[in-house]
Every structure is written in structure tokens, then in C-alpha cells.
């Protein structure tokens, strides 16, 4: 009954059912990393992990994504870490991340070296400027779409606005913003204080028998 002591469901369902080889993991993440032009790596990962390889159910993937969005770091890289860890523990996580990043690393470095040699060329500068302008539009749409839920709820909307102003207008450093607004926001969403037993258990996890 106690949620804290129930064994992790995602791990037992994936790792005991079948063993996936490390090279297969590498291959799948390499494909997703190579083909995902123009961002949207997460959508490609879903395609490959759920529909392609069938390693994850759609539900597994969504829960991995949910965790990835809360944890710091890039969502796609976080999904690689989490899925790789689920499939083959730490070696799985390492090959998943390497596979995902290898194609992009080669290409971004090739472009970077070319740019470094020709960055005084106005044609190159203008092409990249047009890309940045288009990317500004893209980022706006992505933020609006990802934030649909938050933007339509009053306390959340206020937190969105305060966070934006703190960073963009008042130039407060990110660490302070996360520490201040992040903590405040989590506190606003704190568990309803009608279940003291759960609090106790969370504050003292050693009382649960799920530890190593």
C-alpha cells in the first residue's frame, strides 16, 4: 500500500523481460541522433523506441519524458540516460548517450570549423542571421505549445511571468532564479498536509526497506 516501498515498476518490466545488446541500443540512438534535423529529437526518439524497437510502451516513454522534463539537462539526452539505464544499466546509458550525440557532434564541428574560417563573409553571416530569426519564431511556438497548460492556469501563469522577468529584464542569474522561484513554486505545490505519515517517511527514507 505504501507508495514509497513499492518496487519500481518501469525497471522490472523492461530489464527482466528481454535483454537488448549494447550495440542495438547504440544503433537505435545513433539513428535518432542522425535523422533529427531541425530539433524535435524527442519525437524521433519516441518513433524509434516505441514504434521501431518496441523497447518501451508509449506509457513508459511518456513517463521517461516526464522525468526528463523535470530533471536538468536536455530532454533528449536525459531520455537516452534513463532508457539506456533501464535497458542495460550504466553501460546502456553510456552507449545510448554516445549514439545520440555522435552524428550531431561530427556535423556541428564540421560546420563550426568552416564557420570559424569564413565568419567574416557577409553571405555566411546573413544566412546564419536568417536561421536565428526563424529559430526565434520556432522557439516561441514551442514554448507556447509546451506551456499550454501552465499559461492557462493563474498561479502557474504568474510563475511563468515572474521567472521570465527575473531572467530577461532583471538579469538575475539562473542559479538564484531556480533556488528562489523554483523552491517557492514547489512549496506552492507541496503535498496536502493531511497525510503526516507520508511526510515522515519521505523525510526519513531509511525507515523504508527499499534501499541499498
Amino acid at each position: 500500500m505504501d507508495p514509497v516501498t513499492t518496487p519500481p515498476s518501469t525497471k522490472s518490466s523492461t530489464s527482466t523481460a528481454k535483454t537488448v545488446s549494447l550495440s542495438e541500443i547504440f544503433k537505435v540512438f545513433f539513428m535518432a541522433g542522425a535523422i533529427s534535423f531541425g530539433g524535435g529529437v524527442v519525437a524521433y526518439l519516441r518513433e524509434y523506441l516505441v514504434r521501431g524497437s518496441g523497447w518501451l510502451s508509449d506509457e513508459d516513454f511518456m513517463s521517461a519524458l516526464e522525468v526528463s522534463e523535470t530533471l536538468p539537462g536536455l530532454n533528449s539526452v536525459n531520455i537516452a540516460v534513463i532508457t539506456g539505464d533501464d535497458l542495460r544499466r550504466i553501460p546502456g546509458a553510456i552507449v545510448a548517450v554516445l549514439g545520440l550525440m555522435l552524428p550531431g557532434t561530427v556535423i556541428v564541428m564540421a560546420f563550426g570549423i568552416l564557420w570559424n574560417q569564413s565568419r567574416q563573409n557577409p553571405l555566411v553571416g546573413h544566412f546564419l542571421l536568417g536561421i536565428a530569426a526563424a529559430a526565434a519564431g520556432l522557439l516561441l511556438v514551442v514554448s507556447l505549445q509546451l506551456g499550454k497548460q501552465q499559461l492557462s492556469k493563474l498561479p502557474d501563469l504568474l510563475i511563468v511571468i515572474v521567472t521570465f522577468l527575473a531572467v530577461s529584464v532583471f538579469k538575475i542569474s539562473l542559479a538564484w532564479v531556480l533556488l528562489g522561484i523554483g523552491t517557492l513554486s514547489i512549496w506552492l505545490y507541496r503535498p496536502h498536509p493531511s497525510r503526516p505519515a507520508r511526510f515522515e517517511r519521505l523525510l526519513h527514507p531509511r525507515h523504508t526497506h527499499y534501499r541499498h
Binding site: 565568419r119 506551456g147 523554483g182
Partner: protein, 180 residues
């Protein structure tokens, strides 16, 4: 030079670990850090961001080019490790802890509490890129060609889902067409 590498690795390790809400969320801080603490210019930062947009995989691989520009091949290596490795280790540890807390009420609190902060940070990242691309870097006057490109891309993507990679490349081509 060595001091520069140490400084780079510390700054990018911090940026990677602070990226709640993904890469876009950390752009304002990254721009500030690279322009004020290192000798990257706003224009170079914008160019490098655009390079990340046209490469496959995570857009934030652009940090490699920042490292390369500031400290050569070794710089790219150092920045790449600093930005991605601590963050991956943190994710691995946090995810295992997360599984342990499955179903606990605090897990929901953290998720719900951080979501609006992450969205606010994404808007701040969007603002940084808009600031750098829609106004001339030299005199801060509006660049109407760039503004038109951003507006059209926004309208198209709100209207229907098109591969953004194509739109982004078209944006570059259109800008070149209108300014040459």
C-alpha cells in the same frame, strides 16, 4: 590558456546542471557567461546558435563550437565533457532516486512546481534569441527582414506542423535573398 580551459569547464558544467527545462532555458545565462566572462561577441554567439540549429541531434551541441571558437579543439572537448557529463550523471542518479519515490506526493509537487519555472525560462531563452536576431547587434534598431521571417515562421507553425528544420533553412535563404 590553461586557466581559460578550467574556467570554461566550470562555467559549462554549471550551465549543464542548471538547464531545468532543457537547452533553451539556459541560453540567457550561456550568452551572458560567454560574452562577459570570455571574449565571445553577441554576433558570434548568435552565429553559433544557428549552427546548432542546422546540425542533427540535440541543438545544444552548439556548445562544442563555443569551446572551439574560444580555445580550439581542446576547448571543444573540454566544453563538451563539462556540459554533458555531470548532467548525465546527475540524471542517472536522480532518475534512480525518482523511481524509488514513485507515487510519493513530493514527486508530484516537484514536477508541478518546476513546470511553470521551466516554461518561464524557455520564454526567456526565446527572448534572448529574438533580441539577438530581430534587432541589429550594432545599433539595436529593428531588422525588419528578420522580424518578418520570425513572424512568418511563427504563423506557419501555429497553423500546422511542418518540419522546423526546413523552415529554419528557408529563413536563412530568404534573409540572404533580401539582403544581397
Amino acid at each position: 590558456m590553461n586557466w581559460q580551459l578550467v574556467k570554461l569547464s566550470l562555467v559549462f558544467a554549471m550551465l549543464g546542471v542548471l538547464a531545468v527545462g532543457g537547452g533553451t532555458a539556459v541560453l540567457p545565462e550561456m550568452q551572458h557567461a560567454t560574452v562577459h566572462w570570455f571574449n565571445l561577441t553577441d554576433k558570434q554567439f548568435r552565429d553559433i546558435y544557428s549552427i546548432g540549429q542546422v546540425a542533427p541531434g540535440p541543438n545544444m551541441l552548439m556548445v562544442l563550437v563555443i569551446g572551439y571558437r574560444l580555445a580550439g579543439a581542446l576547448g571543444a572537448l573540454v566544453v563538451g565533457f563539462a556540459f554533458f557529463v555531470p548532467d548525465c550523471i546527475l540524471t542517472l542518479a536522480a532518475n534512480r532516486l525518482w523511481i524509488r519515490f514513485a507515487g510519493s506526493p513530493w514527486r508530484v509537487s516537484v514536477q508541478q512546481g518546476l513546470a511553470p519555472v521551466a516554461i518561464g525560462l524557455m520564454f526567456a531563452g526565446t527572448y534572448s534569441i529574438a533580441r539577438l536576431s530581430l534587432f541589429h547587434v550594432t545599433n539595436q534598431t529593428p531588422d525588419f527582414v528578420a522580424i518578418a521571417i520570425a513572424a512568418v515562421v511563427t504563423a506557419i507553425l501555429l497553423w500546422r506542423h511542418i518540419n522546423p528544420g526546413i523552415l529554419v533553412l528557408l529563413g536563412g535563404a530568404v534573409y540572404v535573398l533580401f539582403t544581397h
